[in-house]
């Protein structure tokens, strides 16, 4: 086996495990539309391990920024951004550029789905 093929083999193995991993089997992607200068829905409920995906349909850039400053997801015009929620609890967030845009994620424990 050459170095190159060994590397490819490793990459493939990682990919297979990632696909079969327990998290991806149960975690969901929750979509929040960002359009008309608002997060819609403004409030979502997620489970630990879920992904929140913001889809920016506006022609201006936005951000989804945690009120406590722990994360900051950049949402360029017409693009998406995502975040995996790792801890239970309520997270308030806003757009740094347009602070009148606010949203909230309620993260609950367990896999209800």
């Amino acid at each position: 086996m050459t170095d190159g093929s060994r590397h490819l083999y490793r990459v493939l193995l990682v990919a297979i495990f990632a696909l079969a991993g327990p998290v991806s089997a149960s975690a969901e992607v929750i979509q929040v539309k960002v359009s008309g200068f608002a997060f819609n829905p403004a409030q979502v409920v997620a489970h630990v391990g879920d992904t929140i995906q913001w889809v920016n349909g506006d022609f201006l850039a936005h951000t989804a920024t945690a009120r406590d400053g722990k994360w900051d997801v950049s949402l360029p015009a017409g693009k998406s951004g995502a975040l995996v929620v790792k801890k239970a609890g309520a997270i308030d967030y806003y757009c740094r550029y347009h602070p009148n845009m606010v949203g909230r994620i309620d993260v609950v424990r367990g896999k209800a789905r």
Partner: protein, 174 residues
């Protein structure tokens, strides 16, 4: 005290400008397009001045946001007037806005450091308030073309966001 007085004076000037908008009982669509575009250009110029003079990172972040957003809105506006075959028409309100902006620019040019940052942030609050008032009370209700009305309504949401952003900036300067 100097800044308090300055703020009051500025607000008075800007209110007078809103009055000028109101006096033109009903601006036409070409005039509205010109006023909205001019208002955006003014804020871009103010931001460019801030980027040149200020050394404060919050002021820089805010100014960069203003350049990015107002440029994007004005590009939309240009595309729309082209599509509608409307030629923006210069008018008394646009001229008054520009005159006041030039005066403000000259005043700010004499300042530096924290004094500049504070004056810029306060002016941004006052300026966005005035523009939002004009959009809400005069420009949006007067616009006859529905696409222009929609773009102005979008602009209002953006500028309301900026107003709050500017207020946050003023708070940080305290």
């Amino acid at each position: 005290m100097f800044f308090v007085k300055k703020g009051v004076l500025l607000t008075a000037l800007l209110v007078a400008s809103a009055g000028a908008v109101a006096q033109n009982a009903k601006p036409t669509d070409p005039q509205i397009a010109h006023i909205a575009y001019t208002a955006g250009e003014i804020d871009i110029k103010a931001a460019e001045q801030a980027l040149k003079i200020s050394k404060n990172k919050d002021v820089h972040a805010f100014a960069n946001d203003m350049v990015r957003d107002h440029t994007a809105v004005n590009q939309k506006a240009l595309a729309l007037v082209k599509k509608l075959k409307v030629t923006p028409e210069n008018n008394g309100t646009s001229k008054a806005l520009l005159k006041q902006a030039d005066e403000e620019h000259a005043k700010l040019a004499k300042l530096s450091g924290a004094a500049f940052d504070k004056a810029y942030a306060e002016n941004e609050v006052a300026y966005h308030k005035t523009v939002n008032g004009a959009l809400q009370n005069t420009l949006i209700p007067s616009a006859t073309n529905s696409e222009l009305k929609d773009l102005l309504s979008t602009g209002l949401k953006v500028f309301q966001g900026h107003e709050q952003h500017a207020e946050n900036l003023v708070e940080k300067m305290k």
